[in-house]
Amino acid sequence: MSGRGRRARWLVVVILAVVLTGTWGESTLWAQPTDAAQDGFVPMDEIPPEEELPAAPLVMTAYAVAWAIVIGYLWTIWKRLGNVEKELADVGRRVSAGDRAGTGA
């Protein structure tokens, strides 16, 4: 590529960059700040609807928590009862084996 061709290409790139920067800058760099509080916070009397917490997820979470706690607790009782009954059967066998050995002797 000749020197003139290279310069012409650079010129196109620079013009494009200036146009794009200007377009972007128009919306951001030189845009005026919003009316978000800078000098002090003032309380609001009424919350706009879009700022309010939706109730449905809270209700569903509350019911899910209640169910999860009850079912989880029942599961722990069932698990603990199973372990104790298993141990009970094991110790019971050892006691009766000891009794038989004692009687045999």
């Binding site: 809270l58 209700v59 509350a62 928590v65 209640a66 706690i69 009850v70 029942l74 104790v84 009970l88």
Partner: protein, 221 residues
């Protein structure tokens, strides 16, 4: 007895828990709180089940302290665990309701603070039983009676101190549309509390039998 009682209670509680969502969905919206007020049906029922468990704990603790009946102590341990479980449901569902109704998750007012203290007393009871060593059963029985004595104060706290929490007059004056799902849920929670209590008591009985067997083994050795 426990083996026969548990399936009946479990079946009944299933019936209540299947019916409760239908009644709760059909219940009208409360005018100031809207949909989030529907948490009330499980929240209040959870506390009622907790109070029942605490009364069982307290009475069983009195019987154990004065009569030394071992089965009463087993019932007290089982009831203390139920009370912690239902208290936890109340303490979690309450803030979920409060954040929408009051705009804050938590408020250190008399009712809420007393509820937390009661839950901590019950947790202390269980910790004492778990790690207290010899003699902790009698000490824990005293704590169980103390927990029971707290319940009436907790209940009337909204009448004595004006708090953000709804007052006790709300429930007796509920219209039928609100009352039916509420009392259905309370019945469901009470039945499931009794079902879990019978299963948990069986666990304590089995543990006692296991201890006796280990002692018998030691004697043989």
């Amino acid at each position: 007895m426990t083996r026969r009682l548990f399936p009946v209670l479990a079946g009944l509680s299933l019936l209540f828990f299947v019916g409760a969502p239908v009644l709760i969905v059909r219940a009208p919206y409360e005018s100031t709180m809207g949909l989030v007020q529907k948490i009330f049906y499980f929240h209040f029922a959870g506390w009622m089940a907790m109070f029942l468990a605490i009364f069982v704990l307290g009475i069983a603790s009195i019987i154990f302290l004065f009569r030394r009946i071992r089965s009463a102590d087993q019932l007290a341990v089982a009831a203390a665990e139920q009370a912690v479980i239902f208290g936890l449901i109340g303490l979690i569902t309450g803030p979920l309701w409060g954040v929408k109704a009051w705009g804050v998750w938590w408020q250190w007012d008399a009712r809420l603070t007393m509820a937390v203290i009661l839950e901590l007393i019950l947790v202390a009871y269980l910790l004492l039983r778990q790690y207290g060593g010899p003699g902790s059963d009698r000490l824990a029985a005293g704590l169980g009676i103390f927990a029971m004595a707290n319940v009436p104060f907790l209940y009337i706290s909204t009448e004595i101190w004006r708090t953000v929490h709804p007052r006790t007059s709300v429930v007796p004056t509920l219209p039928v549309d609100f009352g039916l799902p509420l009392w259905w849920s309370v019945a469901g929670f009470v039945v499931i509390c009794l079902a879990m209590l019978s299963a948990r008591r069986r666990l304590e009985e089995q543990r006692a039998t296991l201890d006796e067997l280990y002692l018998a083994l030691e004697d043989e050795a």
